[in-house]
């Protein structure tokens, strides 16, 4: 055999390098293993990892403000939030453009709802303003339309904006409009608009063309109409008025509508300027309120720690982070209560479950199996039914109270309150989670041979010493596994506290559910959920440090 004397890589029988040949042989195995794992892996990724990632993202995401109020947010950057004065005219003008488009796209109510979480009343402010925003500048628009009816004609506007057939085109405003709309609504605006701005008019009246292009894109893709057959928005006319009044130089212009433009500029010179601030204040005097503007400015960045601060009873102000008023503080207390009650439930499960698990582990297999079925029986009953059954048992006119009154242990008029409070939640959840404690304990205890106890006794230990020094330490892994299971299940429990918890026995998860389904404040719900997740992970880590996760056994 020359294998040992051969220099260079070891070769397989067919001459290929042995390493390569081994890899080839193993690759099929690896692929097969991966294929077997793949369905679950994909399932977990899609239904578990992805939602958690989404939740974490939602808890800090805040793009709605900067996406909806694209111009306002920029204009607000210069405003001194602590100066004690409402922002200047420029901010209100920017607000006009943003509000008008948002109201057309019906995005302003979503933003109002979002900001309402931080500042009560903003929702109705936005809703009301959305209805009235097209009235702004109506005097000037009326004057324009009185001057020449052409300003109400869709075909005239189309002609003016395209610069007529064969004129040079400039598509930059159109793509800017697509960009602006897709930022606002996150929909796609790709495709033929049936309109392209003329190069000359774009250079002359950029603001007007920009608004018109936005109108055109919106009309085509959202309303599915033809641009040339629709009268432009008021915002387009306001833009035109602004630009004409600002002294757009029409002298060299000879394209379509040149006459009308000159006439309009002449007429508008006598018209007053549009006072945006006054107009908004007329819609709602809250537009002059400094806290409203502070809130908008505070929440204008695309990401915010605001939800997390809310979730721990703090709030974000222009001065930085401060505590919420005491009457609004709720979450810290709820977290504490959730932790405390989960610990109590875990403790009661240990106390009740340990003896049962011990008996199960020490009975002959047949009897043990029968008893195990009794332990598992609750699993075959609907969670809702089990919880409702506790309602029947514990309520003031319920079974337990009736029995106590009948026995004379409790007076009829002072029946015990055992439900819709912490006691009810603890009792019902201990009952529901008990099997999760018993099963790991049982499977660990089953592996402890009875000879250990005998050995301890033969060495002179009393029953108690033998149990405490020899049996109990070996059953700790079972207690650990059961405790982790019960605690983690308890900390996120929802249905039972919802039904039997009343107001004092509810958990943080009930609050999360409220924000998900009723108040629709998903960001806050996500922040609360993230904190809960972090708390569980931290406790798990602490358990690992103190007890050691190797010590957890399920059998």
């Amino acid at each position: 055999m020359s294998d040992t004397t051969q220099s260079g890589p070891v070769l397989a029988a067919d001459g290929t390098p042995l390493k390569k040949s081994l890899q080839k042989a193993l690759r099929a195995q690896k692929l097969r293993a991966l294929a077997l794992v793949a369905p679950l892996l994909i399932f977990v990724l899609v239904t578990f990892i992805a939602p958690i990632a989404d939740m974490l993202f939602r808890s800090v995401e805040n793009q709605i403000v900067s996406r909806t109020l694209q111009n306002t947010v920029v204009a607000l950057e210069d405003w001194d939030a602590e100066g004690g004065e409402a922002p200047g005219e420029a901010v209100y003008e920017a607000l006009y453009w943003d509000m008008f488009l948002a109201a057309e796209a019906k995005e302003h109510t979503r933003l109002g709802t979002r900001l309402n979480y931080e500042q009560t009343g903003v929702s109705s402010l936005f809703r009301g303003t959305g209805r009235g925003v097209d009235d702004i500048g109506e005097d000037q628009i009326d004057a324009l339309e009185d001057l020449n009816e052409a300003w109400e004609e869709e075909s005239f506007w189309y002609e003016l904006m395209t610069g007529g057939d064969g004129a040079a085109k400039d598509g930059s405003q159109l793509s800017a409009a697509r960009e602006r709309l897709s930022t606002l609504t996150t929909d796609s605006y790709r495709g033929n608009v049936g309109f392209e701005p003329g190069a000359e008019i774009s250079a002359l009246l950029p603001r007007t063309v920009s608004e018109y292009a936005t109108f055109a894109v919106y009309t085509v893709f959202v309303e599915e109409d033809v641009v040339a057959e629709e009268e432009p928005w008021e915002a387009v006319k306001v833009a035109l008025i602004e630009e004409l009044k600002a002294g757009a130089d029409l002298s060299g212009y000879s394209g379509p509508g040149a006459e009308e433009l000159r006439a309009a500029q002449e007429m508008l010179a006598d018209q007053p300027d549009i006072d945006y601030k006054a107009a908004f204040l007329k819609e709602d005097k809250d537009w002059g309120s400094i806290p409203v503007w502070q809130t908008i400015k505070t929440y204008s960045p695309p990401f915010t720690s605001g939800y997390f601060l809310n979730a721990v009873d703090l709030q974000k102000t222009v001065d930085g982070v401060e505590a919420r008023p005491e009457t609004q503080q709720i979450y810290i207390m709820l977290f504490q209560r959730t932790l405390f009650m989960s610990l109590v439930i875990m403790g009661s499960c240990i106390l009740l479950g340990y003896p049962i698990a011990w008996i199960l582990a020490n009975l002959p297999v047949r009897t043990a199996n029968l008893l195990l079925i009794l332990v598992l029986l609750p699993f075959w009953t609907s969670l809702l039914v089990r919880t409702s059954a506790w309602k029947v048992m514990l309520q003031q006119q319920g079974v337990i109270n009736d029995v106590l009154v009948w026995l004379g242990m409790v007076a009829d008029e002072s029946r015990l309150v055992m439900i819709n409070n912490q006691f009810g939640t603890i009792v019902a959840m201990t009952h529901i989670l008990l099997p999760f404690m018993i099963l790991p304990m049982y499977s660990v205890m089953q592996t402890i041979p009875p000879t250990y106890l005998r050995a301890a006794k033969s060495l002179g230990a009393t029953n108690w010493t033998a149990f405490w020094r020899v049996y109990f330490p070996q059953s700790v892994p079972g207690i650990g596994a059961g405790s982790i299971l019960v605690f983690i299940l308890a900390i996120g429990y929802y249905i039972t506290p919802e039904i039997v918890g009343g107001t004092t026995g509810t958990f943080i998860s009930n609050r999360i559910a409220y924000h998900i389904s009723s108040s629709l404040n998903w960001g806050l719900a996500a922040a609360l959920g993230s904190i809960l997740l972090a708390a569980v992970l931290i406790l798990y880590w602490a358990y690992d440090k103190i007890v050691g996760i190797d010590n957890v056994k399920l059998g």
Binding site: T451, S458, L459, G460, A461, T462, V470, P473
Partner: protein, 367 residues
Amino acid sequence: MTDSQSSDAFVAFDRVQKSYDGETLVVKDLNLSIPKGEFLTMLGPSGSGKTTCLMMLAGFETATHGKILLDGVSINNIPPHKRGIGMVFQNYALFPHMTVAENLSFPLEVRKIGKSDREAKVKRALDMVQMGNFGGRRPAQLSGGQQQRIALARALVFEPELVLMDEPLGALDKQLREHMQFEITNLAHDLGITTVYVTHDQTEALTMSDRVAVFDDGRIQQIDAPDTLYESPTNSFVAQFIGENNTLSGVVKKMSDGFCQVELDDGEVIDCKAVNVSEVGERTQVSIRPERVEYDKSRLKSGTHTIKAEVLEFVYMGDIFRTKLRVAGNDDFVIKTRNAPDQRRLKPGETIEIGWLPEDCRALDAR
């Protein structure tokens, strides 16, 4: 059972019965007394009741009937932890969550012995089993033989007068087992403790014990010193169970002065020692040890009765030859001969004459 209830007995079983289900007796009318310092082995097939006896002595099982005495005091109602009996378990039962030293210290702690005293005793016990450097280890870090030594040390550390061992060497390999057999007997004799040892391994029982009690069917079949047990079994179960044994069945023809004549099933008549037969005409099983059978004429005493045998199989085993014969219709008749220079090797198919001394041929009960 001749020696029941002798007054100097350290441990005594007095008419002890045990039933688990109320229908069958696992231990039937057990009478046994063990003098101080004796190494007694309970030997028997599984299910023979030997472990139950040990557990009753340890206090983990209660006797259904009868008394168990320790040093003259009935211990029937004394809980195990107050009996002060050391015990070595089959799988050692070392507490896995404690170190070796903590394991040894445990019986001393529950006896409320002071710390310095405790440490000294633990050290002495560890040195006794040559494991002085292993105090800090966990049981799981020790080999089977080492665990065995620790279990032994733990059973002895609180200086009990009686130590029970329940098949303690069952999990060890052959070589280690033989070594530990030797160590355990030495230790038991050196310390002068009374030992009750349970095993199903007859070699272990023969090599270690002062006396061996052979159990079967809930009764002691015979209790004697190892050599007596081997050479003079009093019934065919013991003859079969201890060592290798050849059996020929037949009918007693004549009895005289401790000897008898037995007519084997093929009509051959042989002389036997009458051990467990009482009358002429009774069926009997004749027991002959393989190494007591001779086929070399020169080695046989003159006048010895010989019978014909056909060689079926010859196995060379190094130190001995093991030859299987057909004798009087029995195909399992085995003889063992020493591998001496002048020893003739038999060939299968050969017919030979075999013979033995009448004392080595024991007429026992027909089971």
